[in-house]
């Protein structure tokens, strides 16, 4: 087996503000190989975005990371400023949710891509870099690329702009791409195109992808492995199949049941179909008590009893349907009761 592109071990991210330091991500461990896509799923407060930023060492002021992060053989947390600059944009690149604010309003698209090239290859001339930009825009499916490179971000539609951002991220052929909600701001048909493009380029370049999303639909059509996060901790990890077919964490199961599905009918046997909602609202690690952060919302916590409230569960191995696969869930219950089927 080749070396993993991304290795995260016991990552903790803490925030200091007003004299108080609190963890927002705790004990996160993940391994990701080239050509694979790991989807990180979570809601607000889950710490999924901050995890993506931590990998690039792009944490906001006041936040600090502990643990170990290795990207393409480079220790990110101990790297100095120069090493970090070399890694960012070259070994690991990022695609953001809002393509408009991720691009400088003062530069045309060509200048953005040329900048990405020349930051890592100073010997490339501006002219050559712009020529390369045209090729790259063509590769991501932007029509009339020679014309498009001279246009400014605000002159593109959302979908085209996100394509340009992808072109910019991939121009140095990174080993790892972090895509933070890359399609959330887009219409569904455009979303499908962008996801298809990302998958296609991933196959072509053999890169690893960390897909951060709140949407199980997006995850289902793009991921190989899934990491479900809740309140800064890993709730469940497994292959897409394991997560979808045999979820081992009540949160994963609940989240799936609460997601509206196009194949579920409005009425079944004269009864209106209802989604099974998870009561309450998502919390963050800061507001969670010593026990399982999901316990207050968990319908199964009563079955376990006091343990859920006093002791945070650690990820333990669960049955998997994949050969050599790894399926982990952080729940005191060994197995979930069979869910009542919602779909017809």
């Amino acid at each position: 087996m080749p070396d993993p592109v991304l290795q995260v071990e016991d990552l903790c991210v803490s925030f200091t503000g007003g004299g108080v330091t609190a963890d927002i991500v705790r004990d996160l461990s993940v391994t990701l190989y080239g050509g694979r896509t790991l989807a990180v799923v979570g809601e607000s407060g889950s710490g999924k975005t901050i995890t993506g930023r931590a990998i690039m060492r792009l944490l906001p002021r006041g936040a600090s990371a502990r643990g170990r992060i290795v990207v393409a053989g480079r220790e990110m947390l101990s790297a100095d400023e120069r090493e970090l600059r070399r890694a960012r944009g070259s070994d690991v690149a990022m695609v953001f949710q809002d393509s408009m604010s991720a691009l400088s309003p003062y530069l045309d698209i060509g200048a953005h891509i040329a900048q990405a090239i020349r930051l890592h290859n100073p010997s490339v001339t501006r002219r050559a870099a712009r020529a390369r930009a045209v090729e790259m825009l063509d590769r991501v499916g932007i029509p009339e690329p020679a014309d498009a490179v001279r246009r400014f971000p605000h002159e593109f539609s959302g979908g085209m702009r996100q394509r340009a951002v992808i072109a910019m991220a991939l121009v140095n052929r990174p080993a790892l791409l972090i895509a933070d909600e890359p399609t959330t701001a887009l219409d569904v048909t455009v979303q499908a195109q962008i996801l298809a493009l990302l998958r296609e380029l991933q196959r072509e370049y053999g890169m690893a992808m960390l897909l951060i999303s709140h949407d199980f639909g997006v995850v289902g059509s793009a991921a190989d492995e899934v990491l479900v996060m809740y309140a800064g901790r890993q709730a469940e990890y497994g292959s897409l199949r394991d997560i979808f077919d045999q979820p081992a964490h009540p949160y994963t199961a609940g989240l799936r049941a609460a997601t509206p599905r196009l194949d579920v009918r409005r009425e079944i046997g004269g009864e209106r179909t209802r989604l099974r909602a998870i009561p309450g609202a998502p919390t963050s690690l800061r507001d969670a008590g010593p026990g399982c952060a999901f316990a207050p919302r968990c319908g199964l916590a009563d079955q376990v009893g006091e343990r859920c409230v006093v002791e945070a569960p650690l990820p333990t191995v669960r049955p998997t349907s994949e050969v050599g696969g790894l399926h982990l869930a952080a729940c005191h219950l060994d197995r979930l009761p069979a869910p009542q089927e919602v779909a017809s």
Partner: protein, 298 residues
């Protein structure tokens, strides 16, 4: 069959664009749409961004004045209502917006927000009534004294629904009511709205870009594209066999949280059918309209 709560006949809305450049003749946001919402019915309005669905929805209570065509809400021609008439209309037609935090005044407690609704229509209210109102949306009495920043997104959206319910409306216009909420909270709000329809007979005009939401929570669906309704019919039929290319593209593009997932590259070609209002599609597909069984023409 009784008169529909909302009936729009051939309504259009043209926005004049300032300055020079494209769109010299203005921008046609809604283009000759006719639709109705029956009493107690939930109509889902779907389409991509810029399809005109929000503009259309806002015509129902006179927030947007159509350039042409008539809007009859609760039997009254909205264009002929004076200021007082419009106010009376808006008691009957309430709105729930996408972003609950933005739609609530940050300097007012929930109690003040709710009391203001009554006061605006010259009515007084008691704490008991307000508590009952909050309870009807699943919130405890202690929320009365809270400020918006002291509650979560889902709780705020419940407050927004409570505010909409305060004057016992017949029709609620819900414009992407769950898009800004966390996935686990979305279902709570959707179920709440469904209960209101079932238990209180409130009609809904539910605007959303999410087909799965619309399928589960609407009786009938209207699909919008470039300001026009391109397909209407009962929710079940539309999703079982979408006819218009735009509807088909939307259905195909909606990702499934299900295995085996459709390979994401599978929908090339169809994907342009619904999007991109700059390019008119070369072969304009006729509008697909499916009458309900036993429906009468109004």
């Amino acid at each position: 069959m009784s008169e529909p709560i909302l009936e729009m006949t051939d309504v259009s809305k043209r926005y004049r664009t300032a300055g020079f450049g494209r769109g010299r003749g203005g921008f046609l946001a809604v283009d000759g749409v006719s639709l109705h919402v029956g009493r107690g019915e939930a109509l889902g309005l779907v389409g991509e961004s810029g399809s005109g669905k929000s503009t259309l929805a806002r015509m129902a209570n006179g927030l947007v004045v159509p350039t042409s065509g008539t809007v009859r809400t609760d039997g009254r021609d909205v264009a002929r209502l004076g200021r007082r008439g419009l106010r009376r209309l808006r008691r009957n037609v309430a709105m729930v917006f996408q972003d609950p935090l933005a739609s609530l005044n940050p300097r007012q407690t929930v109690r003040q927000t709710l009391e203001n609704v009554f006061r605006a229509h010259g009515e007084t209210t008691s704490t008991a009534e307000l508590v009952a109102l909050l309870e009807s949306v699943g919130l405890g009495a202690h929320y009365l004294e809270r400020y918006p920043h002291e509650a979560s997104g889902g709780q705020l959206q419940r407050v927004a629904v409570a505010r909409a319910l305060a004057l016992k409306p017949d029709l609620i216009i819900a414009d992407e009511p769950t898009s800004a909420l966390d996935v686990s909270v979305r279902a709570q709000i959707l179920n709440l709205l469904a209960d209101l329809q079932r238990d209180q007979g409130i009609s809904f005009l539910h605007v959303s870009h999410d087909l799965a939401v619309i399928r589960l929570y609407s009786d009938r669906v209207a699909v919008m594209q470039r300001g026009r309704v391109v397909e209407t019919g009962p929710s079940e039929e539309i999703f079982r066999s979408p006819q218009h290319p735009c509807t088909r593209a939307l259905v195909e593009a909606t990702p499934e949280a299900e295995l085996p997932a459709r390979p994401a590259g599978a929908l090339r070609g169809a994907d342009r059918a619904c999007h991109d209002r700059d390019h008119d599609s070369p072969n304009d597909h006729p509008v697909v309209s499916r009458p309900e069984a036993g429906a009468t023409e109004y």
